[in-house]
Amino acid sequence: MTEIVALEALAARVTSGQSLAIPVDGSGVAMAATAALLEAGIHDLKLICVPISGLQADLLIGAGAIAALETSAVSLGEAGAAPRFTAGVKSGAFALRDSTCPAIFAGLLAAQKGVPFMPIAGIIGSDLLEVRPDWQVIDSPVGEARKVVVVPAICPDVALFHAPEADRAGNVRIGRHRELANLAYAARRTLVTVERIVDRNLLETEDSAAGVLPSLYVEAIAVAARGAWPLALWDEYPADEAEIARYAAMARSEDGFRAYLSTFLSHRKQVA
């Protein structure tokens, strides 16, 4: 059954060397937990961005926590390119697995369904097939004769995300952000931070249950108020655009990134 723990205890459940799946900015990114991971000196993570990332991936890359990165893009959105990602690609700081959004979802879906691979439409002709030897083009073994791309299952060791609320049993409200459920179904273990724990049973009514990830999939939950900051959390709070722009500017240089990181970590400690 789901345990409710402190943020540091939650972060301690992620081990260096593991594969870690994270959602796209705005969908429920566990930034407070990311600070706790960095504080704890996490390293050699195999990061899987579902299907892209921004500030979270760039922070982890800049801090040297990433050994491998699978993603369809890393970008700060309106704030521009992700500077540590760009620098890291150039210096070969991590093993890079470029992907395309639905292929990452397809890999997770294969894990969800306990099959070794998943077919996916499109992609043929893309150079991604050249740089992803783990992907193949096959003739469909059944149905209409057709070439189709197949990608291997993606089974993250850990999925980590942030959501508005969970109940005491560990059910997590994800609304229509079902990509968070896709993460949890595929991952061996799922860790969630939330704005708050509620006393009511989120599975009680058909309406509230529809937007819930059941506790069955959730190993541990920690409360982290404004835990996605400076990113947005659905309609709970908007992104702190000024903060992200400040990051984008500072992280252009290695020194600037270090300075930002230090402030970011101490900010998180003040909040906690």
């Binding site: 309106e78 390119a81 992907s99 992609i123 893309s126 079902r178 990509e179």
Partner: protein, 247 residues
Amino acid sequence: MSAERERREILIAAIADLLDGISHVAVGASSPIPAAGAMLLRARNQRDGKPPVRISILGSQAHNFFTNGGIELFDCAAQGRVDAFFLGGGQIDSQGNINLVGTGDYPKTDVRWPGSFGSAYLYHLIPRVILFREEHTPRVLVPKVDFVSARAITPEVRRRGGPYALLTNMALFDFDRDAGGFALRSVHPPFTPADIRENTGFIYEEPAVVRQTPRPDPATLALLRGTILDELAETYPAFARAMKQAA
């Protein structure tokens, strides 16, 4: 600033025209001009009693009627339920291939862009993909992209999707899927066909007489500067503000 407004208004109107006849268009998260074009088509159809237009804006709460998470746009495209979409590219080549990854040798590319996003997939599945890239220079419009994020034409597989047109700050090109290349349709004022030749790094068909991209007519401008800016403000407040200030 007024020239900047005119430039944007021409692009928005051109997009509305390119979308004519579709019933569902999806727009990426940070794409105010494509979104405005889609909204203009929707408003025009509504005004003229034409079929309604559905607009999905990724990442927007208000223009989101997906309820199955991040995969739904992609599934929806595979089902043939998305008629039009916009893609950009750090490089776009003469064959319509796009590069969202970087220049030079992969993986340690000289210039690295964010990545391919959903392009490799959506280019196959959405019938009317509009390549929209404001910068019109030889470094963007290249003979051959350094990395094919998404290929425009793949004779080895049947596909419904692919490039339909290329719209830049300077011109509008049609894409001919049979010929496998671009043809200049019109040049935006104040540019000339010679400007286009000079700033395009790839070969394209050029008609004997090159039209000018039309400026939006007064009725369109009224819609654009009224309803559309109000609708846009919901999702792209900064863009809508800039457009209003330019007035």
